[in-house]
């Protein structure tokens, strides 16, 4: 697997490229901006961007999408539940294939109704649902409960050593967040 994180200028959001070494197919997680560093990386590694996975429909995760669609022939995947993102809608349990890599969609609503995470062997991309030491902001106590319940059920049941790559801030692991995140312990 090829993996590369990018820190974007828009609201200090993160984007990630993961790619299959064998086929050169690449997936971009979130597109808050279309950073030239991402384009340079794809070019340098001779990767073919085939898929963009949007964790939720907020500008700092989707702002660069139109530029990407102009330049690349990509499939855009996003969650159901009110997302205005055009493309294919995915739901909990759906598979996402990038060459020989297979990921799985996890429902993590609360921050927004369409919030989804994407897990590959060894790592999970959580968007704004779960951060290092924090969780995504919500607009009601019900949404907060929904978010916490889904994180417990769908993220904290992954192996402790799995890396968490959130929409903002540093990466983490399932073990760190399960044991130390102030919103859970």
């Amino acid at each position: 697997m090829i993996f590369r994180p990018f820190l974007l200028n828009v609201n200090e959001s993160n984007a990630f490229v993961i790619a299959c070494e064998e086929t050169g197919e690449a997936l971009l997680v979130d597109a808050g901006d279309f950073d030239t560093h991402i384009e340079d990386f794809l070019h340098e590694k001779r990767l073919r961007l085939t898929t963009v996975f949007i964790t939720h429909d907020h500008y700092d995760h989707t702002g660069g999408l139109s530029s990407i669609i102009e330049r690349y022939d990509v499939q855009v995947l996003s969650g159901r539940g009110g997302s205005g993102v055009k493309g294919k809608k995915v739901k909990h349990g759906d598979e996402v294939r990038i060459g020989s890599l297979t990921g799985k969609v996890l429902a993590t609503p609360g921050h927004t109704g369409d919030s989804v995470s994407l897990v590959f062997p060894g790592m999970v991309f959580t968007g704004d649902a779960l951060f290092s030491g924090s969780i995504g902001g919500v607009s009601s106590p019900q949404d907060g409960k929904l978010e916490v319940d889904h994180i417990r059920r769908n993220i904290f049941t992954l192996p402790d050593e799995y890396e968490i790559h959130p929409g903002h801030g540093p990466s983490s692991t399932v073990g760190i967040e399960r044991r130390h995140n102030p919103f859970f312990v």
């Binding site: 994180p5 290092s132 030491g133 540093p170 073990g175 760190i176 044991r179």
Partner: protein
């Protein structure tokens, strides 16, 4: 031999062992035959993206080492010299860095959650955006360090020294800062539910 790395790891060749092989080795740290020879074979100038989970490098001289993106989860680096080391995006979760020298090190985006940095020195280190969730750092010295937007939630930094540190947007949510020194710090941090008993300002 194909190189085992952080994001393209190989399995330990010991039958029945499910762990990953160390970079430049065929076995994990538990099953490697000659640990000393393995450690001597490492090139501190280029350990980028290395898989070094669980290794014991306590007391080693790793000044200026390049460990960008490496995975050192659960490693022992107690008392190691990591001055000016490149530890950007390095996974050090659960690692033992007690008494380590990290002055001037670059720890931007590093993952130190659950690590032990008690009595470690991080003077002038770049700790921006680092994961310090649940980090244990009694008496650690962060004086002059840049902790911008780092996340020491639930960390134990009793009697730690943050003199002159940059703490803009640092999230000390529920951290234990009893007896810590925050004199001359720069910026506005989040101290929600933190223990600030006896903090020196």
């Amino acid at each position: 031999m194909k190189r085992s790395t952080h994001y393209a790891p190989l399995c330990c060749k010991t039958p029945g062992c499910g762990a990953r092989a160390l970079t430049e080795a065929e076995h994990c740290w538990v099953h490697i035959e000659d640990r000393e020879a393995f450690l001597k074979s490492l090139n501190p100038g280029d350990m980028v993206d290395a898989w070094l989970a669980g290794v014991d490098m306590s007391g080693r001289d790793l000044e200026g080492a390049n460990l960008i993106g490496a995975r050192l989860s659960g490693a022992s680096l107690a008392g190691a010299n990591l001055r000016n080391a490149e530890l950007r995006r390095t996974f050090l979760d659960g690692a033992n860095l007690s008494g380590a020298q990290l002055d001037g090190a670059n720890l931007e985006f590093a993952v130190l959650g659950g690590a032990d940095v008690c009595d470690a020195s991080l003077k002038g280190a770049n700790v921006q955006r680092a994961n310090l969730v649940g980090t244990r750092g009694l008496r650690a010295n962060f004086s002059g360090a840049n902790l911008y937007y780092s996340r020491p939630g639930n960390a134990d930094f009793r009697e730690a020294d943050f003199t002159g540190a940059h703490i803009e947007r640092t999230i000390f949510r529920r951290a234990n800062l009893a007896g810590a020194c925050l004199a001359g710090t720069v910026g506005t941090a989040n101290f929600e539910n933190a223990n600030l008993e006896g903090v020196k300002r």
